[in-house]
Amino acid sequence: MCLAVPGKILDRQDMLATIEIGGVMRKVSVMLLPEAKIGDFVLIHAGFAVQVIDEEEAEKTLALFKELEQYATHDN
């Protein structure tokens, strides 16, 4: 019950933000994320931005996944 997508805030007017998701533009409400700013990457669910994505943590997760690659036990 959590179908949500990440997107970047390109513009914000009051409680409405313009988001870009993989090249697609969409307007969402930021009523639940009033501190959201232009340039933030946010999680979008049911027409609302619901959480800000922590880019530093995202980098860490990606770096970890990439590092673990080398410990794969067999070639696919």
């Binding site: 994320l33 990606l62 996944f65 673990l68």
Partner: protein
């Protein structure tokens, strides 16, 4: 969504699956996920196939549509038959069978039922159709309920008098508590719903450790997130510890979304709620507070609803609690299939049985 090539993903996946097999050697492990989106993600990625046989991934009551009681559907259907009512609903609810009909069937008979992607769209419909009463079917766990609350707040601000809500919202932590206190429960660890946690944070899950000593990991939704979470649970189990860990740290801060929780609690309060197939669970649902009762459909629009009937032979309760596998239900794949579902687990795309059926259980290797 994390930028990696297929080659890189497969290698990392391979690392996780080998480690999981190594840590699970000589044990039989039962892990439960409680989020319909996880159920589907696990199937879509073919994860069960890659896990060793002695590590079981069971689905819990993670589909809010599936745990919505028959009575709710019957009520929505009854409202839809009124000529001055427009029903606004998420697509997920359209085909769910009530006691004798479904919203899709009513739509085919001419009822004004509209699919929306957001609670605010429902409010817009109300503002554009002042001669009608627009009723929004507010279903969902904590990822979605704040969005419904926000719509109610906006309706109040805009003094909208024809917007109503029927709440079927449910709360995940209470469901987990009910699961663990049931006699037949046997779960070695939980994969916790990543997006619900993005809203409620980590605190509401602390009781899993403190009272039930059960390992739990807040998990993301990409295949590698899920594999890493299973790996983290296996490490805990092997080390005989029980901790609350956060694999999805890029989306889930410790405190969750404080603003969203505030809006939620401004509009809604906790109540006991009926979970289809399970029964009543204390403090597991949300009802509209007195201050916003003008938006409560049931209190403002009189309606007569047919007597609720549950389907015979339906084993959904056991499936939802993870005690029975879908393919072990006698109705599964025979009388109960996605195109003619009998019980709640088969109705929604994310329902345990629907997902298991769609991705091959009982028809092919899973």
């Amino acid at each position: 969504m994390l930028p990696m090539t297929t080659e890189e993903i497969r290698k990392t996946a391979d690392f996780f699956t080998s480690e999981i097999a190594r840590l699970a050697k000589g044990r039989h492990i039962r892990l439960m996920e409680v989020c319909g989106t996880h159920t589907v993600a696990i199937f879509k990625a073919g994860i069960r196939q890659l896990l060793p046989e002695n590590v079981e991934l069971v689905s819990g009551p993670g589909c809010p549509v599936c745990v919505t009681p028959n009575e709710y559907l019957d009520t929505a259907i009854a409202y839809s038959r009124k000529s001055d009512v427009i029903i606004a609903t998420f697509g997920d609810m359209l085909k769910v069978p009530g006691s004798s009909s479904s919203l899709a069937k009513e739509k085919a008979q001419g009822a004004d039922i509209r699919i929306v992607y957001s609670s605010l769209e429902a409010l817009e419909i109300a503002e554009k159709n002042l001669d009608k009463k627009v009723i929004f079917l507010a279903v969902g766990f904590e990822t979605t309920s704040p969005t419904a609350a926000a719509a109610i707040l906006m309706a109040a601000e805009r003094r909208c008098t024809n917007f109503y809500v029927i709440s079927a919202h449910k709360l995940v932590p209470s469901a987990l508590r009910a699961l663990l206190s049931a006699e037949d429960s046997h779960v070695d660890g939980f994969l916790l719903p990543g997006h619900v946690s993005a809203i409620i944070g980590l605190k509401p899950y602390e009781f899993l450790i403190e009272e039930y000593n059960t390992p739990a990991v807040v998990a993301g939704f990409e295949p590698l997130d899920i594999l890493q979470s299973v790996y983290m649970l296996m490490q805990q189990i092997q080390g005989n510890t029980a901790r609350l860990e956060n694999q999805y740290s890029r989306m889930v801060p410790q405190e969750g979304n404080v603003a969203a929780c505030k809006i939620l609690l401004e509009v809604y309060q906790e109540s006991d709620a009926v979970w289809r197939g399970i029964g009543s669970i204390p403090n597991s649902g949300l009802v509209i507070r007195e201050k916003y009762q003008v938006f409560d459909a049931l209190l403002n629009i009189p309606i007569i609803v047919e007597v609720t009937q549950e389907a015979k032979g339906c084993q959904c309760g056991k499936v939802l609690r993870g005690v029975l596998l879908p393919q072990d239900c006698p109705l599964f794949g025979k009388t109960c299939r996605p195109e003619h579902p009998i019980g709640s687990c088969m109705v929604s795309v994310e329902g345990t049985c629907a997902a298991w059926y769609k991705y091959g259980a009982g028809r092919w290797q899973v």
